[in-house]
Symmetry: C2
Subunit: 327 residues, 2 copies
């Protein structure tokens, strides 16, 4: 089993790599080769004895996708993208990387299949950004796709391509719409969604954090560990029940900021909560007001995708995976 | 007012041209210039005294879109596409013409706007093919887009681009999802949907027609005259109420084949109905089984789009517009 991860140097890509190496297999097939691709060369994982390729390459550059497909991986995780804020600020770069890069990959797989039979599993990370307000109380699996950012538009287009190329038998694709990943490890960043993680991650290690929105804000969350679980399940599930609906909203946890903070209090005490400083930011407030609050992802749940059901669990995952298991 | 029609040589394009020339205006603005574009040179309309350009050009060829945008039309009707069957048979041609051609046009408008302020109304003809079975009893305005053809995929992608480019202020776009156009004038063609028109148009002039599906088949229809009405209304309506949801399912008439035949009997008598020969075609039956049967297009109706409400009306429109007003 040869697995390729495009976007392997990112947070989810690194966790996926580590999990694959730890498992030593995907879907019961021994992991013999691993190709890690990103715009910067991904780090080598510890303890992998198979064939390892680590490559700095930009999928949107001419010839890159074709060269990757020539290696004929059995499973391809396509996680590479520029984020929402950057795709909004740089129109051309967003469409080039998030749309054209993906289409180049899909077309390269098609060309490879034209030389000799080839039908890899392709797992594509889409986003809840394909949905746009106004929303129903919970977004159902058959709710329409009206993104309000170029990033969401690009993800929605790639979903359509993935479904059509799969229908055509060019590859066996599954698109998964990730919730906001929380608690995101690492330093605070300037993403509009950063505070959802900051207000937990920083106080857990005794550092202050800023809350820029009212604690009544509700959002849709899953842990990094769940995200990796979604990817692995998407790579190994039987796609026959998907029929021609290849894109799935993933399960998650709908919670208000107040509920996040209550969970923090239960896990780490009032002293942790006291480190959260309320400092309203109108710009962030406006952006967040357009985001989905809740989903009813019945199809994904029926297909066996699972996520956390309380914020206490989400915090515990962070403590286990990032802080060595205890505070 | 300079109006450009891309795809002007097609059935709807010719009727739209004739109507614009007859009206002499669009949205109260006198029609001073008309640019008619298609892959074959469109015919000159009768009685137009303004500046007329008729050009054979392929939007998907390098430089064509840029040249068209340089003329800075105030309103652009983009009707050009290859049909469903051809897009399914020729993967590359379908994506090139139906997706890339549209994107070239949108990007050319953006480039033109970069030289000097420019924000034309763009009316794009999408299709009910963006929806895929299984369906609810009536497809609501917020039902998801899961096309089951490459044609439907390409139309759905162009809808997403139109909405994002409009949100960005690159142009002022409206996408309209046309019902199946019935009664389609001209000779019977081999499109899978052809029989919906054939079983009316041919008997009305004393010719036989073949019905390849059971008369219980239900489908979604509007006349060519309604299609032109949709286009003109989309070109002139206030787009502010659309907000970021720029694509609309058009109104139409949900009817079974049996209801079509009953209307034919009322309008043209039993002798016309007797010219319909039932000759089941399994291939056509399978294709049609995946098509939408009914819609609940509340937004379009609220915005003032109108269509026929009985098949008697649809037949009368054909008699008026194609047969000189009487049988």
């Amino acid at each position: 089993m040869h697995v390729m991860i495009i976007g392997a140097a990112g947070m989810v890509g690194r966790k996926l790599t580590a999990r694959l190496v730890a498992d030593g297999a995907l879907g019961g097939q021994p992991l013999s080769a691993l190709s890690l691709i990103d715009v910067v060369q991904p780090d080598a994982p510890d303890g992998f004895a198979g064939t390892l390729v680590r490559q700095a390459a930009d999928l949107s550059s001419p010839g890159v996708a074709e060269a990757l497909a020539t290696a004929r991986p059995d499973a391809i995780f396509h996680l590479a993208a520029i984020v929402s804020g950057e795709a909004e600020a740089d129109f051309d770069k967003g469409y080039l990387i998030n749309l054209d890069g993906t289409r180049f990959l899909f077309d390269a797989i098609r060309a490879e299949g034209g030389r000799a039979p080839y039908n890899p599993r392709v797992v594509f990370t889409s986003s809840i950004a394909i949905f746009g307000a106004p929303f129903p109380p919970a977004i159902s699996d058959d709710y329409h796709h009206t993104p309000q950012t170029s990033y969401g538009t690009q993800k929605a287009i790639c979903e359509l391509l993935l479904a059509d190329y799969s229908r055509r038998g060019i590859f066996d694709g599954v698109g998964i719409r990730l919730p906001t990943i929380c608690v995101r490890p690492g330093a605070p960043n300037k993403a509009a969604s950063g505070f959802f993680s900051n207000i937990l991650r920083e106080p857990l290690v005794g550092l202050p954090a800023i809350l820029p929105v009212p604690d009544t804000v509700r959002h849709w969350h899953a842990s990094p560990r769940s995200a990796v679980g979604f990817l692995l399940h998407a790579a190994t599930l039987d796609t026959a029940p998907l029929a021609q609906r290849r894109n799935l909203s993933m399960p998650g946890l709908s919670a208000t900021v107040a509920e996040q903070i209550e969970a923090l209090r239960r896990v780490a005490g009032q002293k942790a909560v006291d480190l959260i400083k309320v400092q309203p930011d109108e710009t962030i407030g406006k952006i967040v007001a357009g985001w989905p609050e809740n989903f009813d992802p019945q199809r994904a749940i029926a297909l066996g995708f699972t996520a956390e059901t309380t914020f206490d669990e989400i915090i515990q995952v962070h403590i286990d995976d990032e802080l060595g298991g205890s505070l």
